[in-house]
Symmetry: C2
Subunit: 241 residues, 2 copies
């Protein structure tokens, strides 16, 4: 069963293996076969050092043999069209949505393929928190936007799988079933009762597990501040014109 | 090698198989283990008929045994927090981005698992073109936004795989390598030379392959019109407050 891997052995990830996985991942669904994505491979230690603060100095960025930054990319397609007498018009939000979708499907297919060979990875959601810095460091041109980062290597740990909500929480038949106090209790009770989550509440000095997320980890103030930077980055990259 | 499947046999997709695939897909990476997604399962013939026009009447919607609409979902998490004395603040763009990411990773992992069992599917990118109608039909509450649709069934066709660009087009080492007329020729020549693409140009009465995309299929005017509806839907669902 898959699990996030944050510690990696010293065994290298060969360039030929990485290339073949990326090529196979590119079989993922893509809009009009345009492959509206790019991936930037970071192996250089100095580059990892520079990238780390934009991911809040999570140690995997410098410790993993490979860091992959997946980008929504309409730049290549636009340049192709300009070279071929086309009239590209992708400086808009729909085009960002389509390219981000392509990039995330490509990224997850890469994860599934890499894990099937025993590689381990950690998905860094922080990519969209400091996009302007990542854009500068990786020299991403207009119409290229980082949307996901993976740290990748051979596992040096075997963590137990974390829990998941029961399917009743997220699978709806025909229409969206209303969320009520009763369905909340039904779907969250097991998670809230886990000893590790009760300990998590204790050390965070909150009354409930939910408060750790809404009041500490993903607070409204933080979400609003990071939203502003994310929208600024989309504007800078030309996706909100 | 995977390929989009648009024709399905009469063999049913059992509910127990679908449930087990969705539960295994939920092992995908998810932000803070919050599982910021939902999926609406459409099996009812009448619902498929109503859904079809929002996907531009692509015949797979009514012909497939199952249609799955994957949604970015902060509603359930918000309701949970409100029931548990939390202070959720997810009516912002960053939160949409995070939930859409969770939903798309979940969707692609589902695809990889379903394909490994021989199921076939078609990914409908049209989901974000008519979101307001889909929201109404599936009764999606605030902070729930449809981001992807799959039609699913056992294959009744075995199409040849479509081409993909060479990895040089989308894999960059350390920094984004500039796109130039030379790299365009290097990366697009094989695609442009394919007999089926030359035929595609002929029947579309364009001069180049790129023009089919920029001038006909994904024109600037269409992208801008659909962008406006997509942003309106995000506003209506409370993600741009």
């Amino acid at each position: 069963m898959r699990q996030t891997i944050r510690r990696y052995s010293s065994r290298p990830v060969s360039e030929s293996l990485l290339q073949s996985l990326l090529e196979e991942a590119a079989r993922a669904q893509t809009m009009g076969n345009l492959q509206l994505y790019s991936v930037v491979v970071t192996r250089d230690a100095e580059m990892k050092q520079q990238l780390a603060p934009f991911h809040f100095n999570q140690p995997m960025v410098t410790n993993a043999p490979v860091v992959l930054t997946f980008c929504a990319d309409y730049h290549r397609t636009t340049e192709w069209a300009l070279q071929r007498k086309g009239h590209p018009g992708y400086g808009n939000f729909l085009s960002y949505q389509n390219a981000a979708t392509d990039a995330l499907l490509f990224c997850q297919r890469f994860c599934d393929l890499a894990e099937s060979l025993g590689l381990g990875m950690c998905f860094l959601g922080t990519t969209v928190y400091k996009p302007l810095e990542i854009i500068r460091l990786l020299r991403l041109p207009k119409l290229v936007m980082p949307v996901a980062t993976l740290t990748l290597g051979w596992p040096d740990e075997h963590p137990a799988p974390t829990d998941r909500l029961p399917a009743t929480a997220y699978v709806h038949q025909e229409t969206y079933a209303p969320v009520t106090p009763e369905t909340i209790d039904r779907d969250f009770a097991a998670r809230e009762a886990l000893p590790e989550n009760q300990e998590f509440v204790r050390i965070n000095h909150t009354e409930t597990l939910a408060q750790i997320f809404t009041d500490i980890r993903y607070s409204a103030a933080d979400c609003e501040a990071f939203s502003a930077e994310l929208l600024q980055a989309l504007r800078r990259q030309g996706f909100l014109e």
